[in-house]
Symmetry: C2
Subunit: 172 residues, 2 copies
């Protein structure tokens, strides 16, 4: 699509680590969009971003919204929204927890089960294999790096770390 092979270094490349956030976001965006496209071309009509939610539900019968949030580590409003669109599509259903009216327990509908199964049969393996060929050549180093970064940020945010770095470099 884009041909950057002959370019002089772009601003993003020159900014290097400072542009890391944007680059990661864009890369993630592309992967999700491509996966969604592949799914659709394979007759599975669901956004790639909804799949983790579906999987999480399917493995936690009787899960609540909070359970999914804890599992996926995604902010609650995001999960609520995804569940809403899945419910609109008839793929999941809620029931009020009789023991606690604040909670909603979530389950895949039959249609949801079927779609998830089809997605797994049709798309899981090829997409994972394609990614493995691009990424995995170097022995899973990328995923390991990401996990390190995530863990480091969980421990102390970049904001805090930057403050520390500044304090050390200019202790006037």
């Amino acid at each position: 699509m884009r041909d950057r092979t002959t370019d002089t270094p772009s601003t993003l490349e020159r900014l290097d680590l400072l542009a890391l956030g944007t680059r990661l976001k864009r890369l993630g965006e592309r992967l999700q969009a491509d996966t969604t496209e592949f799914l659709r071309a394979s007759g599975v009509h669901i956004a790639a971003g909804s799949l983790p939610v579906m999987v999480s539900i399917s493995e936690r019968p009787g899960a609540t919204v909070s359970d999914i949030v804890d599992d996926l580590g995604i902010a609650q409003p995001g999960v609520t929204r995804t569940l809403g669109t899945l419910a609109d599509a008839g793929l999941v259903a809620f029931t009020r927890d009789p023991a606690d009216a604040r909670r909603r327990t979530i389950a895949l509908t039959d249609a949801g089960e079927q779609l998830l199964t089809r997605a797994q049969h049709v798309a899981w393996q090829p997409v994972a294999e394609a990614l493995r060929r691009m990424v995995g050549t170097e022995d899973r180093a990328l995923v390991t790096h990401l996990a390190h970064l995530e863990a480091a940020l969980d421990e102390r945010s970049l904001h805090v770390r930057a403050v520390e770095a500044r304090r050390q470099e200019a202790p006037r």
Copy 2:
């Protein structure tokens, strides 16, 4: 913030490469948000995502929207929107190109120059250093990996690669 250290493997971890898109997006999101927060705490009021655009403009006097798009590799409507908010904030200004009324040439205002300079003085170095400590220990492998991935996707999309992978694995 989140404490996932004691968790059993989350769905995202188990999905592994299939969840790569989401994970990258989330990581990028966090980095951008943290950087914005650090900037604000340092008295520089601008979203981290706007900085690449500002830098690109400052290095290309007389640039048009398309020039920025080509430089950053971001979709044109995104650039247009960012320029709009920067213009609202009085940081950039447009002038119609007299030679071609379709084009708008873009320049930083004095306020924009000042803000960019302050951002560079105040924030660049600490943020880069903090990231380097988290990421760079392993010899820039992460950034190299990302560049590889980006180049590979530029060449053939994940969608196409997944189709290929499927064809090979099930050549019935």
